[in-house]
Subunit: 364 residues, 2 copies
């Protein structure tokens, strides 16, 4: 077994760094789970062991997000991209409409798919600002006939986050791929929360979907099997063979999060980590520029520019030489981005902030 | 790290036994992949390393199945259940129809979803026989307007397998979840082959989809993003964040299969393993009864009954005490079932055949 002594700080936007404790626990049991003579990923998904791991993962999501009993927790293959169409298939295919806020690249994908399935309205768009800001949540209005209001709680590429959520008469549906379990939520506002697992809670290849009872009741009977939330919920998300490995890893990551102190802890840590980086920018005298409106800066994805693209390339390369990877901005926008999800140690943000100051001093 | 000295023979229908060599290779690199200071499942899916593993997995599928250049290989989250609707969404949603052979529980699910999306015809059904037989492939006829003929190459629950495939004027579409890569294929007959990974090629949570170019050209532009084979193929199956772990495991399993001798080897081994079990039944003087027509008995899933349900329960329990698990038949049909996919060692089938003889002698 290789050692993990050379572990580096991985600022990738997702897949991304996971808690080393969770990885090592999985590794220890990988080929022989609890002495049962086989790997967990070789066991029937109907076995007591897999069922137990699955139910523990569900219970951890419920406990950590303080979910009332009228929410179902589903772990579904396909990730958030499948949810872009699955939500409207369940809610607006047979009538009604959906309202959207357009906050950037991920909101755009959700809107694009919904448009193909039913009626949609974009009730707010950040396009003119270059997706660097968000509206005052209190100002967001829905349209007549809307069955839900969709928002992307954190835009991974733009580096913006809804700090609070609109108060509207319809359920909120939110893509929380990049900030799920990073803060407490006013859960009663939400009808559906979905998130690709590969940022805050586990490896890629699965979506976490949280659905309220009244939404489940609206799912049409004539949807194909895999698309139907109600059928998944009725089978406790074992309608088909689930992604057992990802469920196991989510359980291990959430065990770790619970041990650390839950979403109160992750929220505090996110503020500390991002604070170090935003402060480093402020202290740089304009060397590092964050394009995002201060009020909505993301504590998960910190985007920034340097004085030139050449310096950005140099910064990214030197950071890698110093044990910090994944700092290149998304190819659609360029620049730099530090993704600092729950599993990023504070030391990672400290190292990056220190490197930023040093790099600016050397390349001013 | 726990040892694997107590490894048992796991006859589960899927998830199921995987090659110990592949599991141990994954375990060794699990928390630190090739000394890069992070796990493979923490790396960006756009990284050279993940891209490399992904392309190697694709290349192995192409090599082992001897796929011509006009077939694309996709690894998609959601498993075979999602394919039940994805195939008709791409091929018959906007017109035309699909022909189906109804061979059992899995074919029924594929038919059920297709019916909700477009026109379907069942051109052959095994319902009257209790799904214990299949038609002569040469006798299968398609209907006018059919865009494809669907078949389930191996029915996991019923324990039957198409030994040869129909010659028809339309492309075959086949669910090969339970016998993919267990034998060479007349690939030119197939337009689409799909398979949940969790039987012959890896862990649960992913579907392998093989699609021919002319099928890709038929995919409608107005399908939601995730459903569109053409868009997945255009992005080399990186349209969204793929299930990296499963892709890695498939690569490791297929490395192992290639080292062993590819599909010629797996076909020979399947014949040996299943031969041992079918021979044990024949030698039992009617103690063990296989309900399946001899000509279509599956080399992957061997189903059998004992003289009573009590004896079946005793058989399953004693087998477990003797290091053989997962022998209970599917809950919908009862009885016993030994699933003996590629990774089941010959010794597992030998042990089971020997146990069957011994049990019958003691409980005759």
């Amino acid at each position: 077994m290789t050692t993990t002594t050379n572990r580096i700080f991985n600022f990738s936007a997702g897949p991304c760094t996971l808690p080393l404790e969770a990885l090592e626990r999985a590794q220890a049991q990988f080929a022989d789970y609890e002495g049962q003579g086989m790997s967990l990923i070789e066991m029937s998904h109907r076995s007591k062991t897999v069922d137990g791991v699955h139910n523990e993962a569900i219970a951890l999501v419920k406990e950590l997000l303080d979910l009332p009993d009228n929410y179902a927790v589903l772990f579904l293959g396909g990730g958030a991209t499948l949810q872009f169409s699955m939500v409207p298939m369940n809610l607006i295919r047979n009538g009604g409409s959906a309202d959207f806020t357009h906050s950037g690249a991920w909101a755009k994908k959700a809107i694009g798919d919904a448009k193909l399935i039913g009626n949609t309205h974009v009730v707010w768009s950040g396009e003119e600002s270059g997706f660097t800001t968000l509206p005052d949540p209190a100002s967001v209005q829905t349209t007549d006939g809307a069955k839900y209001l969709h928002l992307t709680s954190n835009e991974t590429i733009g580096g913006i986050q809804w700090q609070d959520f609109p108060d509207v008469d319809v359920p909120l549906v939110s893509d929380m791929s990049s900030d799920i379990l990073s803060r407490p939520l006013p859960i009663e506002k939400f009808g559906i929360i979905y998130a690709g697992a590969q940022k805050n809670i586990g490896p890629a290849g699965m979506g976490l979907v949280i659905v309220r009872d009244d939404i489940l009741e609206q799912c049409p009977d004539d949807l194909p099997l895999y698309y139907n939330y109600k059928k998944h919920a009725g089978a406790n998300a074992m309608l088909n063979t689930p992604p057992v490995f990802q469920i196991w890893m989510v359980k291990l990551v959430l065990d770790w999060l619970k041990e650390k102190g839950g979403v109160q802890w992750s929220q505090q840590m996110a503020a500390k980590r991002s604070g170090l980086l935003y402060d480093a920018m402020a202290a740089s005298g304009g060397y590092y520029r964050c394009p995002v409106d201060e009020a909505v800066r993301s504590p998960m994805n910190v985007v920034f520019r340097l004085p030139s693209e050449e310096l950005e390339a140099k910064f990214i390369a030197e950071a890698l030489d110093n044990g910090m990877s994944g700092l290149k901005g998304h190819r659609s926008v360029g620049g730099c981005r530090a993704s600092i999800y729950n599993a990023m140690p504070l030391e990672g943000a400290e190292a990056l902030a220190s490197f930023m100051a040093d790099f600016a001093a050397r390349n001013g």
